[in-house]
Symmetry: C2
Subunit: 461 residues, 2 copies
């Protein structure tokens, strides 16, 4: 697998430098020694630093503190957090308590972002009590096998980052570092992986240890070598899977540096944004509210659920949605809707019970025969129908109404909206905070489309 000059040059830019390596290893050593010296837990360096697959500039250090499985969950949390706090106080500039599946400490130590995570020292990846217990097994599995492929992993991670498909978080729905490592091991390198991925189809199934003990519905299944019941690729959405496929095809077809280092997109100014919206002829509406004080992995799924809830409310009320997307900013969150029309006529059809449900049908018809209506009750496909006055003929009024609170919002989103929400329209949707999001929304492109576009612009310069 000869690497191209370009790839060697990329590696030269992304391999951690000697000084960086020494510094990070020294900090890790110090913390590990301190944990072990406590006599209360055994420290283990995990994550990409432990596997030597970290990319230059990554300043993340993951140190796990392994406890006796005889402890109860409460004891583990209490003792683990106490020890982690000690360490953080001793070495750190600042630190904070965080929660994933269970609590841990995140500290800033000599410019590094250090996670101190208590977990159980279990016998195998299949016997874990919580997701974090699995991590030490991942680290061991990769560390024992990855040596010949470290550069391939670095290239893949950089390729996936630049392409916007790196990360298993809810916002990205892409490829975790561990998944990248497994794919490199399975296919035997960066280029072999790309060549295979160019032909991926939904239902991809990879089981390196040939020990799968469960079936999965996700479009991409990579059985965890340390846990036969886990799909490492569970977080990869169909769209992100094929964004990666597209990038692989594009790179094999016409490789360029842009696949590893893509320039940030210039956000649209408010004027340019307004002009684009006018050109589309659609009606843009946004709901914004204060960002709930939780991590993206908690908030983003709630934003998505809320987005679908409000979309359904709009469509039920006759306002058809061309596209909708959500954004979580530092200050505010945004649910953005592009409507074909923001005005609906006064009349709306209201479909009642079938006539063979006699009691309901007669109640319905009797009620409406006494009320103001445009037409009906008439019979269509055996059901009563009336045409009555529509409640909301404008999308703005609907989105500002209490109905917006009753659409199955996520818990934290609902709490935030109970305080206040704003309805923005057209050009007013633009703000500095959301300019990049709005730009990507209006000029939506696949990763490869973006690269080819940048390439074209560079050529024309």
């Amino acid at each position: 697998m000869a690497r191209s000059e370009r790839e060697e040059e990329v590696l030269g830019r992304i391999r951690p430098q000697a000084a960086e390596q020494e510094e990070i290893q020294r900090v890790a050593r110090e913390i590990i020694d301190a944990v072990n010296a406590s006599g209360r837990a055994e420290a283990m360096l995990v994550g990409s630093v432990a596997r030597r697959t970290w990319v230059r500039g990554d300043r993340d250090l993951d140190i796990f503190m392994l406890y006796d499985p005889a402890l109860t969950r409460e004891q583990l949390e209490e003792q683990g957090l106490a020890l982690a706090r000690d360490i953080a106080r001793r070495f750190g500039d600042e630190w904070r308590e965080k929660y994933a599946e269970h609590p841990y400490i995140n500290a800033t130590i000599r410019g590094l972002d250090v996670d101190l995570v208590p977990c159980y020292r279990v016998a195998s990846g299949a016997e874990i009590r919580s997701a974090v217990d699995r991590t030490p097994f991942h680290t061991r599995y990769i560390r024992e096998r990855i040596a010949p492929f470290v550069d391939d992993v670095l290239l893949l991670k950089q390729f996936a980052k630049a392409g916007g498909v790196y990360g298993s978080d809810q916002m990205t729905e892409g490829f975790a570092g561990y998944l990248c490592e497994l794919l490199i091991l399975h296919y035997g390198g960066f280029l072999p992986l790309l060549r295979a991925a160019a032909r991926w189809k939904p239902g991809l199934f990879i089981d390196i240890e040939e020990h799968a003990a469960k079936t999965f519905e996700e479009p991409m299944v990579v059985i965890d070598p340390v846990d036969p019941k886990r799909n490492v690729a569970a977080s990869v959405s169909l769209s992100q899977m094929f964004s990666f496929v597209e990038l692989c095809r594009g790179y094999l077809d016409a490789p360029s540096d842009l696949f590893f280092f893509r320039p940030a997109r210039e956000p649209l100014t408010q004027e340019a944004f307004a002009a684009l919206v006018a050109g589309r002829g659609t009606c843009l509406y946004a709901i914004t509210f204060a960002t709930p004080p939780f991590i993206p992995d908690v908030v983003v799924p709630q934003l998505r659920r809320s987005l679908e809830g409000v979309r359904a409310l709009l469509e039920r009320s006759g306002f058809l949605v061309n596209r909708a997307e959500e954004a979580m900013g530092e200050e505010r969150c945004m649910l953005l809707f592009e409507l074909f029309s923001d005005q609906m006529p006064a009349v709306v059809r209201h479909i009642g019970p079938p006539l063979w449900s006699r009691e309901n049908a007669e109640k319905f018809a009797g009620k409406w025969r006494k009320r103001e209506r445009f037409s009906g009750p008439y019979i269509e496909d055996g059901r009563y129908v009336v045409e009555v006055e529509r409640r909301y003929t404008g999308a703005a009024a609907l989105l500002a109404s209490p109905e917006a609170l009753g659409v199955g919002l996520g818990k934290h989103v609902k709490r935030a909206m109970e305080e206040e929400w704003a309805v923005l329209e057209g050009e007013a949707c633009w703000s500095l905070e959301f300019a990049p999001f709005l730009t990507d929304f209006l000029q939506k492109e696949s990763p490869l489309s973006r690269i080819l576009q940048v390439d074209r612009e560079n050529t024309n310069k």
Copy 2:
């Protein structure tokens, strides 16, 4: 089954008068004698006159000419039409050749509308060669049983006529005379039928002779006593079945003359029509074209198919339809559409192939990356999507475009539209010919809603 004073009074108005009876029987006798005298066929009086179930003022006479089944179809048609023409020339003021399943002669004889229909004299209703061969069996079946129920049949026919559910033609999709007679026989009278029908559900199954030899999917199934494989109620639509049910409930609940004699509705003037449309806030569009020179039973199904074709074209193009109906006038036919909006934005999403269909996907993306577009190609659910310029942003332009011809129109409709079609908008949809249709469209009501409305208006006078 005591009949109410009201019902007796209604019967007094609808029973044929003695003079009328004598006159119609005398004409029938003359024609029958003439047919029999020819020695070529045996004449049989069929239809409601033969069964004595005709309503005063009906001036229809159906005389069948039964031929030896040894004749070929061509011979039957040739000899049958020749004899029928002879009779029509001899007795009639005017006459014309018509086609149902096979040709017959329709003549006007002393103010009566007389059908002279050649058919085969077969051994049983199950051995027929065409639908008309069955009619003599129907007549015999009813004639032998209906005597005690003649008044009940008259009431039911008048009730169904006034309610708009009498007739098995394609426009009505209601209850044929023969079906009315069978229902009266089955339930044992007018009121027993009404009481039973008030509780009908879809899937109603009646098999008087208990000889059904086929299963049927229609909402209402009444097995033909003379043909175990035929559903006499096949033409009854779900809506008309329950329009009848509704009328039965309404009559049992609060009987009134309006169930038998409903005043015609005053059609809207153009001004009133325009005001109603404006109040609804919708966009009304009509396509009209010259009425094809065929009977309603041929044209109406084609209009319905065309209506659905154009409706699908509109909705595919983004113009959502609130309601759509068709009308066959003497001069013109109309396909009427009520749209929520007649303008769509410039942008339209165009969904391409899934990326795992690699060749198609790359062709699609490659093509669109070179063209003018609003956004994309981007990836959604694993498929390429582009946002491009919409072809028709106005409904009027779409309906006037050649696209309207390519939507699976019925044969005769297509031929008519190939000559010309007009697109009318809003108030301009109104014309004297279509005023009653447009009135029913805008003020659509179930038969019972209409009766209750008229009743209320009468009370308020």
